[in-house]
């Protein structure tokens, strides 16, 4: 069983990110479920969706059990830290000066990426797929092939390729960074 809390603010493509990931989990042959919040609660405010892969049925992730936080916004990531298990990974978008930085919040390490610095020319609407690419470079599940298939399913033909491109940029960025660090 794996669980992912995906957060950000209204309009940042949080629900889309969750849908793409859940669909990719299902393509992988695992059970995938997701919970999301609509309506007044998402007007420009914090958006929270929980994604689970495996046998779990509850739509919500228990405190201290999530494998990942994938966040579009640093403040939203920080306010959700308690959901992470020990050793859980936090990936967040940020508006920081450097493309990559690392900080500790509530005792959890959080990797912060500024999509505008990583891909200055990218339409901000593609930032969610860029972050998903970074996640995908860290975790082989679900496979990048399934994620790309899921992106193609979840976007209109017009913008699917641009989003797959953003996903690949994110993957490439983190893979290169890891090679450099090693």
């Amino acid at each position: 069983m794996k669980s992912y809390r995906i957060v950000g603010r209204g309009g940042q493509g949080v629900i889309t990110l969750g849908k793409v990931l859940t669909q990719a989990i299902v393509y992988s042959g695992e059970n995938g479920i997701m919970s999301e919040i609509h309506g007044l609660s998402q007007r420009g405010g914090g958006v929270v969706t929980d994604v689970k892969a495996g046998d779990s049925r509850s739509p919500l992730i228990m405190t201290g059990t999530a494998d990942y936080i994938i966040s579009m916004d640093r403040n939203e990531a920080i306010s959700n830290m308690a959901v992470l298990r020990k050793g859980g990974i936090c990936i967040t978008g940020s508006g920081a000066e450097s493309a990559f930085s690392e900080n500790t919040y509530e005792g959890f390490r959080c990797m912060e990426f500024n999509p505008s610095k990583i891909e200055p020319g990218l339409d901000p609407r593609g930032h969610n797929m860029l972050l998903l690419g970074i996640f995908s470079a860290m975790d082989p599940f679900p496979s990048p092939e399934f994620i790309e298939k899921s992106i193609a399913e979840n976007f209109s033909e017009k913008v699917a390729n641009a989003n797959i491109e953003a996903f690949r940029k994110g993957r490439g960025y983190f893979t290169d960074m890891e090679i450099r660090v090693k």
Partner: protein
């Protein structure tokens, strides 16, 4: 593949669907011919999907003006021989309660299902009423799914039950079922059919005069008694026995998922009775389960609805087991459950002396979108009231995105009760106190229930200034059309009903201003607040989420900016932030409405338009 193409694919396909989308698919697989709703979270996506698929599937779909009208339309369609579907959020059934309760007495024509989506924890609602109480009050069968797959499958069973007993069936979800996404296996879509209409032949059933109602009431309770022992619908309920355990859990809906996970994660052994039919309680399976377990915990969100029924049943059976739950404080009455809350109750029942903690996340509060007409409206009206020396006036607001005006920095709502209440509550205060009041109501809410309220306010002689905030849509729930605009189906020649025409017809004095013209709003407000009597100001500007082409954005000239931060502290647009000693506008977030460039927001005129 497009969503619609996948959604309409044939039997055997599997698709990742939201609970609400699965309900819409279930309606199509049940062969519905007619659907109506008034949008409301967490039920809105059912309508979003049905509106899109209506042309290809031959069903009639409409956004009605309010839930009562939607219910009555669907009842009419059922009488006319079409399987009909009406759906709404939990508080919507308060509005539709009048036809709902009596329609149980009369029975129906073709199958009829009423979906009500409850909102535990009030993510987008003013209360968390448990609508199963309504089903009980009205003697309506209640069916509760726990997952998107069940949501689809149980819809079909609901129609079968509805037609077998000629009874409207309540289909009850909660936010976490409506907004849970999971793979759903499809069955066949059934094209709508029309049965014979028998209204003329059965007018002694459909006319609820007292002499008929007195005959129909015992028939209704008899139907419910038959349903409680009808094994044809046994598939709605299931038992999971765990050899050697005498600890039982009775549950329904989303709570079942928490029970399953909490048992697996805690290692506690228990038997489970999962009820999909929660009114009437299916007697045979429930009694058997009660006899098999020495102790039973009832796990359900909100009210101890099932628990009360199970306890009464236990008493009737001569106290065959021990029932526990909310009534003895093992589980909370308020707010939605989580696996944590359920696990703690199970650990307690198992005599394990440990608890798990839930640390809730504190996300950012919602706010008006960039380009929202409400921001410039409330900013200007607040300023005008201050200029007129009337900041003390009571502000009655209503249900919609503009409820957010309650929060800082606007603080422009003292009362928010229910749909349409701004005008009636404001009028009540005005009449009783002899003081002027101000009301805010959205366009969709005005059509929903504001029209009788404003006619009544005029008749009462209320001293009120009413702002109708017309953003040309039902914004909060997903931008559904209001009666000012044509519906998409069958009404292409409909010219729309103008709010101005309604006010003229009612003899109410009004003026219309542009929501982004701050100077005009301020002048109109200052002028109107000084007059006595009923006056309406229609503040019109489109919702920023409606499709539109962004033609420009605005930027702050750092040299000209005085650093007063009025645009951040009082206007408060998410696109504007502090950048050192000056303000900065994010060109991507900015929607180009230009309201911040006005002198009232930026006294030094440092904000300029950049054409795209």
């Amino acid at each position: 593949m497009s969503f619609l193409k996948s959604f309409l694919s044939e039997s055997g396909q599997v698709m990742l669907l939201l609970g609400n989308e699965a309900i819409a698919r279930g309606a199509l697989e049940s062969g519905i011919g007619f659907a109506a709703t008034y949008p409301g979270t967490p039920s809105s996506e059912v309508g979003e999907v049905l509106m899109k698929v209506a042309p290809d599937t031959g069903i009639y779909f409409q956004y009605s003006l309010n839930e009562k009208i939607a219910y009555e339309m669907a009842y009419g369609a059922s009488l006319a021989g079409k399987r009909s579907f009406v759906f709404m959020k939990h508080v919507g059934l308060n509005v539709a309660a009048d036809p709902f309760v009596t329609s149980l007495y009369t029975g129906i024509g073709a199958g009829m299902v009423v979906m009500t989506a409850d909102d535990p924890s009030m993510f987008s609602s003013q209360n968390e009423q448990d609508n199963r109480r309504y089903g009980d009050l009205a003697h309506a069968p209640i069916i509760e799914p726990s997952s998107p797959q069940e949501a689809k499958d149980f819809m079909k069973i609901s129609y079968e039950l509805s037609e077998k007993y000629s009874i409207p069936v309540m289909f009850r979800t909660t936010t976490r079922v409506s907004h849970m996404r999971a793979p759903v296996h499809f069955g066949n879509i059934v094209r709508p059919t029309v049965a014979d209409m028998k209204v003329k032949q059965e007018r002694d059933r459909f006319s609820s005069v007292p002499s008929n109602a007195r005959r129909l009431k015992p028939q209704l309770t008899h139907k419910m008694s038959m349903i409680s022992s009808d094994n044809e619908f046994g598939i709605l309920n299931s038992v999971e026995m765990n050899e050697g355990s005498s600890f039982g859990i009775i549950t329904s809906g989303v709570s079942y998922n928490y029970v399953k996970d909490a048992l697996a994660d805690s290692g506690v052994q228990a038997n489970i009775l999962k009820l999909g039919l929660t009114n009437p309680i299916p007697v045979e399976i429930t009694e058997k389960f009660m006899r098999q377990n020495k102790r039973i915990l009832v796990v359900e969100e909100l009210d101890p609805y099932l628990e009360t029924k199970i306890r009464a049943f236990n008493d009737n059976l001569g106290h065959i087991t021990e029932i526990t739950g909310k009534l003895d404080k093992i589980l909370p009455w308020s707010l939605e459950f989580s696996e944590t809350a359920v696990m703690n109750s199970i650990l307690k029942m198992a005599g394990i002396n440990s608890t798990v903690n839930e640390i809730p996340a504190k996300g950012s509060p919602p706010e008006f979108c960039p380009g929202c007409p409400h921001r410039s409206s409330f900013f200007s009206i607040k300023r005008a009231l201050k200029m007129a020396g009337r900041s003390d006036v009571v502000l009655a607001s209503d249900i919609g995105c503009y409820s957010l005006s309650y929060y800082e920095p606007y603080d422009m709502a003292d009362i928010i009760l229910d749909m349409g209440a701004s005008i009636s509550v404001g009028a009540g205060i005005s009449i009783a106190s002899g003081k002027k009041t101000v009301a805010f109501i959205g366009d969709s809410t005005f059509f929903h229930s504001g029209i009788p309220a404003i006619i009544n306010a005029r008749r009462s002689g209320a001293d009120m200034l009413v702002f109708i905030l017309d953003n040309s849509t039902t914004a909060m729930t997903g931008q559904e059309p209001t009666p000012e605009f044509p519906l998409s189906i069958g009404t292409e020649n409909f010219s729309g009903t103008r709010i101005e025409s309604i006010l003229e017809g009612a003899g109410i004095n009004y003026s219309t201003v542009d929501a982004f013209d701050e100077g005009k709003i301020i002048r109109e407000t200052v002028g109107s607040i000084k007059q006595t009597g009923l006056k309406v100001i229609i503040v019109r500007g489109p919702c920023a989420l409606l499709p539109h082409k962004k033609e420009s954005y605005y930027e702050v000239s750092p040299e000209e900016c005085s650093g007063c931060m009025n645009c951040i502290d009082n206007f408060h647009c998410p696109a504007i932030s502090r950048d050192g000693k000056v303000a900065r506008i994010d060109p991507y977030e900015c929607d180009g409405c230009g309201a911040c460039a006005e002198v009232y927001v930026c006294p030094v005129k440092a904000i300029h338009e950049v054409k795209l």
